[in-house]
């Protein structure tokens, strides 16, 4: 019973926060509502017995991703107010509502029609089991994932590096072989 009350509170907070992320006009407030949504999801993970994932969620998303988003907003903000720069497109509101509403109706119908969904929870999984599965059965996926992270990090640096866009300011010379080219372009 207590679990049900907790689920109700978490679910309502999550849905309100998700609606605020999507509808709020101020982009900075939208990011803060996203942090609320992610924290509510972390609480749901802990309620569902996945406390390790809840911890990761708090550290990685509520700590890292939200900070990164705020940095990006501050870097790309036009001068003079952030109030109306996040408005939704009026001509797309009704088709988007139709599309998402139809999809939700289809999914809810599918969940409603599925018989034999379990109602009794199993024993929660220990974190040590997760680590063991990662390094035994799924070790290849784990290694590929780490290569993906490395590639994404290098790719983000390469994409966002200042190069030759108009008045982007002086290019920061890198140490090593590429530095002469960068400096030459800046002059």
């Amino acid at each position: 019973m207590l679990e049900l009350v907790g689920f109700g509170v978490i679910a309502s907070v999550a849905i309100v926060a998700a609606l605020a992320v999507v509808l709020w006009r101020n982009l900075v407030h939208s990011v803060l509502w996203l942090a609320v949504l992610l924290l509510a999801t972390a609480a749901l993970f802990i309620l569902l017995g996945a406390s390790f994932l809840g911890g990761i969620q708090i550290m990685l998303y509520a700590g890292g991703v939200v900070t990164l988003m705020l940095f990006a907003i501050m870097l790309t903000r036009r001068r003079g107010g952030v109030g109306v720069e996040n408005e939704t497109a009026p001509q797309r509101r009704f088709p988007a509502l139709l599309a998402s509403g139809t999809l939700f109706a289809a999914m809810a119908w599918a969940i409603h029609r599925t018989e034999g969904l379990p109602t009794e929870p199993q024993v929660p999984i220990q974190t040590s089991d997760l680590g063991f599965a990662f390094l035994s059965d799924h070790v290849l996926a784990f290694e590929v994932l780490s290569v993906l992270l490395l590639a994404a990090t290098i790719g983000a640096i390469v994409i966002a590096r200042r190069r030759d866009f108009g008045d982007a300011g002086p290019a920061r010379p890198l140490r090593g072989a590429g530095s002469r080219i960068v400096r030459g372009r800046a002059r």
């Binding site: 679990e3 679910a11 996040n86 939704t88 497109a89 999914m107 109602t119 997760l130 790719g155």
Partner: protein, 99 residues
Amino acid sequence: MTLSMCLYLGAALLCIGIYGVLTRKNAIGVLLSVEAMANSVNVNLVAMSRYFGGTTSQLFAIFVMTITVAEVAVGLALVILFYRALQHTTLDEATQLRH
């Protein structure tokens, strides 16, 4: 609390995220909605692991988290590049591949 309640919650969050992706004009706003969608998938996966047992669905949730973070890093780098080229981040006016 049953599995179907968690599935309904995940479906609702996913559809709210889709509405945001379709209506937002600002590129960072679209990225925020994509984050909300990935988050709703994780809700489903963790609920499945609770009610069916086994470690695989939690591993999938960790994969989803990692790939989402990588996507956010690359996406924000693209947004910054976009802003540097056009001085705004409105997606409707991004009609060219080259500046």
